[in-house]
Chain length 341, copies 2
DNA sequence: CTCTATAATGTTATCGATAACATTATAGAG
DNA sequence: CTCTATAATGTTATCGATAACATTATAGAG
């Protein structure tokens, strides 16, 4: 090392008896350098434990190698799966994911977008839950590709990969109405303005009103995210407020699992007394007893498609799209034991 | 913007009629600049949607503002919680988390450590599951603080925040033996050499052998991570191989939930026929019916302590520790309905 | 053996900020 | 009103890499 600090490319160059540029070329694929020299330099690099400083490289090449992704919370298996498959797609093109958590708040999102932009990401992924105007301004000024995921926004910034939570919840509600349920309750989060949870509730309300049914059976508990525990507590107040309920549509499978747990404990038979329905197709609902009916979504597919889209946009694949893409992710209604046949 | 590219500090300086250094000072706390000018410049920055380039700043100041954290998988609520609390602690000191996933493999860890070091993190957090020699060399060469979390390693690199999975599993096994169980099976992952899962299995074996009991009832299914589904499948083969089992100790609550689900379906009574025990205290085990006995760990505390330790080490708090710290995280045995009184 | 196209390597300028030192403005002491 | 300490601002060098251009080495044509 030169002096006291970290090993730099200069140190490697000196040790190899070449210029720094030759070392730089040895590390870069498809660059003009002889095989012999490349091998020599690479083994020297290995030996010296030299690790290039990507900050410096990025500053010069104007490519950070970062893609930023903002999620409401990582504390949610779905988002975690999306992140994992997105990461995998991006690392094929040598891109690294910079993760941020918005805590389901558009104001926090704005702050984090700004923090992220300081790292000059080559693209940014947002989980749509509403944005502030300044968020939009910052993103426009950054002039990088923006992909909104999970929800298909009405007024997309650029690209999107997701589905309509409103439509999905409406479809499930219609299915339940077809099955003969009339006094369906919706159990969702409080303070969910502009979020996907609210879109689901609105889909429920719309379906009920379309059929001339009352959409007044709504319980809103804690702010997002939903936990099993919250579901269990909400189940109790639901039974007190609306004792005539015949089906509970929960904003997420976790809430549904909590509801079932409470119902079974207090002797409510599922599905004969009350049916229970979730959203998301988390593994727990498949193995719950009774198994929980749900809206199947595919978080891994969302991550996969998003990653591919970004690689395409950034021109790593030669399939650069001409226009903004809106990839619709198919969702499916899955009826299980928790709903009567 | 100067020319066509992004807005730079130079553009702001020109617009404000000051030198770039004054703009730089306006953005930095406790720097020598008049209040009037700072306010002017900051509002100008806001107006121009200028976002500083932290790459350039870091290169010059030799502080990346990054802390790297490697986890086996983000697809695990515990790790997600650790990440979330760690993130929160670090952002108090203006540090950003760079996340990587090792897929429970020491070789992948090595690659990701190298990728991370390119970003010149100020500290690095590893989830101990064994390391390669080169990983150790790279870390030593990087000369940054290293914190290993979750497991308390025998041969720590530097600092650690965690507990002994061996001891925790042994303690649980001893408790089960005290309760009168003799034919206890351990249900864990395959290909788990050097991982926390293996440490748990070894703790189980040690406890059984200490009491002169057979530790042969071991089922190893898929490679990590454990899923509910894997647990359900393993439960089936467990019953075939060891029909006389009186208690199943699972490497994780998820496996335990899957085991219970299968047992209940095939008419095995829990806990009267067979007891079921998990590890981790995930929310699902509290609301499962019967509720699942488990080893309680506190992922949020691990993240919190790790974050604080790093801030202390990096000197953001004035409490710089003299020596390598080894913070022991207390774990607790929690017996619930899935084990006989 | 010479010439030329191309491969291999080197030199210089640069990315956008901050550190360190230099200079100028300002406030308070006397 | 002058002097001096300090606050406020500016100038220059620098972080560690890569891009763009310049030069040198090499291989194949004739």
């Amino acid at each position: 090392m030169s002096g006291s600090g970290q090993t730099t490319m200069k140190d490697v160059a000196k040790a190899a008896g070449v210029s720094v540029m030759t070392v730089s070329r040895a590390l870069k694929k498809n660059s003009s350098i002889s095989d012999v020299k490349r091998k020599q330099i690479l083994s020297l690099i290995q030996e010296m434990n030299y690790v290039p400083d990507q900050m410096a490289g990025s500053l010069s090449s104007k490519k950070s190698g970062f893609v930023a992704a903002l999620l409401p919370s990582i504390n949610n298996l779905h988002f975690a799966q999306t992140v994992q498959s997105l990461t995998k797609q991006l690392e094929n093109s040598g891109l690294q994911l910079l993760l941020g958590y918005t805590d389901y708040s558009a104001e926090k999102e704005e702050k984090i977008v700004e923090l992220m932009l300081r790292r000059r990401p080559e693209a940014i992924v947002l989980t749509y839950d509403g944005h502030t105007q300044r968020t939009r301004d910052l993103l426009e000024n950054a002039s990088i590709p923006v992909v909104e995921i999970w929800e298909q926004p009405k007024d997309p910034i650029q690209h999107s990969v997701g589905f309509s939570n409103f439509d999905a919840a409406k479809k499930m509600t219609n299915t339940l109405i077809d099955k003969g349920y009339k006094k369906i309750a919706f159990l969702g989060e409080a303070d969910d303005f502009g979020t996907r949870g609210a879109a689901r509730r609105n889909g429920f309300i719309s379906a009920m009103e379309d059929h001339g049914l009352s959409a007044e059976r709504i319980v809103q508990f804690e702010a997002p995210p939903v936990t099993i525990g919250n579901g269990a507590i909400a189940a109790k107040s639901l039974l007190e407020k609306f004792p005539d309920v015949d089906c509970v549509f929960c904003v997420s499978d976790f809430a549904a699992f909590g509801v079932q747990s409470h119902f079974i404990k207090v002797g409510v038979n599922i599905p004969n007394d009350i049916a229970v329905v979730g959203f998301g197709d988390f593994e727990v609902s498949r193995y719950a007893l009774p198994s929980i009916s749900t809206v199947k979504v595919d978080p891994i597919l969302i991550g996969h498609q998003t990653g591919q889209l970004i690689c395409n946009i950034l021109g790593y694949t030669g399939k650069k799209p001409e226009q903004f893409q809106h990839l619709d992710i198919h969702v499916e209604i899955s009826l299980r034991e928790s709903v009567k046949d």
